[in-house]
């Protein structure tokens, strides 16, 4: 071993000892998958105080693994339709569905995220590219958890009905319910991001309207009340309330755009990646020919329920 290498190893060793000595507290144990999922669902990663710093600290790799598992879980319940229907390549369809559900979310995110980020930046969302992506990932995990939790219900219906249009619509409904809850989490988080904690804390005791309307009782002119240092003529509570209101308005606007973009891309992506269920009248295929679109297909499926 050369002298230089020995010197390098000694330095690394010393650095390790110094690092170990400086770390007084033992390293935190890695959270389990379920623990992480629980924290996501409880909003542990999107608390107002954490978001105020403009950073979202989430274990990205763990969440991606979790998303894959949850998506595959729901995909398997989709594949139950082929399995219980006695389709010749049912296991293949089950595998295809288990792969396609996570793929659907991944590809939707890849396609829509650039525009989502641009809209977020236009609305002055105080999150950078990386943290906006993490926020989206959290919403996707919530969406996937909800649909995976509805998986047993879907599998039961798949086992007990042969109506293909009914199950198609049920699948759309499950995705929609998951999407709504995912959006709810996203909306709560964006509102908290736009509304700083100080504004949120001071919005509760909003000054009564009479106090604002009457100039004699405003802080600037009242002899009992010291003048507010701010340049604005409004009391601090009212300013905070306005800030909070503006934050909510900004969040609402951003969510509207995000909803449209993500919803349209997601629906069409689902249409491109079909079949997820596998039609009982058609042989197994990984993908179908590109024709039509999601909305037309849903309307035509509703029609088929009445005129099979």
């Amino acid at each position: 071993m050369s002298k230089a290498v020995r010197h390098h190893l000694a330095l690394r060793c010393k650095a390790g000892i110094v690092f170990a000595m400086s770390a007084n507290t033992p390293p935190e144990p890695r959270p389990s998958m379920l623990g992480m999922l629980d924290r996501v669902l409880r909003g542990g990663f999107t608390q107002r105080e954490v978001l105020a710093g403009g950073r979202i600290e989430v274990p990205v790799a763990g969440l991606v693994r979790l998303s894959l598992l949850l998506g595959a879980g729901y995909g398997i319940s989709l594949g139950c339709y082929s399995l219980f229907g006695g389709a010749p390549q049912a296991w293949l369809q089950m595998l295809a569905s288990a792969l396609k559900v996570p793929l659907l979310f991944l590809l939707t995110l890849v396609v829509s995220f650039p525009s989502l980020y641009v809209f977020a930046a236009l609305q002055r969302l105080p999150l950078d590219f990386r943290n906006t992506l993490k926020l989206m990932l959290l919403a996707i995990v919530v969406h996937l958890t909800v649909i995976a939790s509805l998986g047993p219900v879907f599998a039961f219906f798949a086992a007990s009905t042969t109506s293909y249009p009914f199950l198609l619509l049920l699948n759309v409904a499950v995705f929609a319910i998951g999407g709504l809850l995912g959006l709810m989490v996203l909306r709560r988080a964006t509102r908290d991001i736009f509304t700083p904690p100080s504004a949120a804390k001071t919005t509760a005791p909003v000054a009564p309207p009479a106090a604002v309307a009457n100039p004699e009782t405003t802080p600037e002119t009242s002899p009992e009340t010291p003048a507010t240092p701010a340049a604005t003529p409004w009391p601090a509570t009212v300013t905070a309330a306005r800030t909070s209101h503006q934050g909510a308005e900004q969040a609402r606007r951003l969510m509207g755009v995000w909803c449209c973009v993500y919803g349209v891309v997601g629906a069409q992506m689902g249409w491109l990646l079909r079949p997820f269920l596998g039609s009982p009248d058609a042989p197994f295929e990984w993908f179908r020919q590109r024709d039509g679109n999601f909305l037309v297909a849903v309307l035509s499926t509703i029609g088929k329920l009445f005129h099979p």
Binding site: F84, L150, S160, T162, L181, F306
Partner: protein
């Protein structure tokens, strides 16, 4: 003792609600009694036994299918700390449903013996389940009131549960037919087409026939 527990459940305050094990026992025995009455009305003892198994099974399986999503929805809505209480409330409601079904069983037998019209009998069944559901709703509302006062989001979670439970329960009830014997079908635990049909499609087809 079981009667005292049933009375506590129906009449008492939330604090007097029987223990979970007692609730399960009450609900299951009431449902079994109702199933026995449904099956016995056809005069076939095997059908009575089958139905006595299937009615409790209907409630238990529906709850088991819906609980995972109820858990997730509660967690997402920030209601996880109250989840145990929410489950106790649902259990009390299910027990009430069973008790009410069981209590109505003798009347159902008496009324169904007086008619041969299958539509009238079906209507009686619907009335029995409707009355039991109403009673369960009363108990559920009483148990959920403090939870909703504590956090109004409980109302949303509860509505979600009710919709999902009814949606899944209806299909499961369709799968678990027959509860009451039908002429020409013989005695069977499940019908041959149990896993082929969909209750909602059948309902839609019935409505469509009305318009034609």
């Amino acid at each position: 003792m079981i009667f005292a527990a049933a009375e506590n459940l129906l009449r008492g305050e939330i604090t007097a609600t029987p223990r979970p094990r007692t609730c399960v026992l009450l609900g299951a025995s009431g449902c079994a009694l109702a199933g026995l009455a449904l099956g016995a009305s056809s005069g076939e003892w095997r059908l009575a036994v089958y139905a006595a198994i299937k009615v409790p099974l209907l409630i238990v399986l529906t709850a088991a299918l819906c609980l995972p999503s109820f858990y997730v929805v509660n967690t997402v809505l920030g209601l996880r700390d109250d989840f145990a209480l929410a489950c106790r409330s649902l259990l009390a409601a299910q027990a009430t449903l069973g008790v009410m079904l069981g209590a109505l069983a003798p009347m159902l037998i008496f009324l169904s013996l007086g008619t041969n019209d299958p539509y009238a009998v079906t209507l009686l069944d619907a009335l029995q389940f409707g009355a039991a559901t109403w009673a369960a709703q009363q108990v559920l509302a009483r148990h959920y009131r403090p939870l909703i006062l504590h956090n109004p989001r409980h109302r949303l979670a509860l509505r979600g549960w009710l919709v999902l439970f009814a949606f899944t329960g209806m299909q499961l009830a369709w799968v678990l037919r027959p509860f009451r014997g039908t002429e020409g079908f013989g005695v069977q635990f499940l019908r041959a087409e149990a896993f082929q049909q969909n209750a909602y499609i059948v309902l839609l087809e019935h409505f469509a026939r009305l318009w034609r």
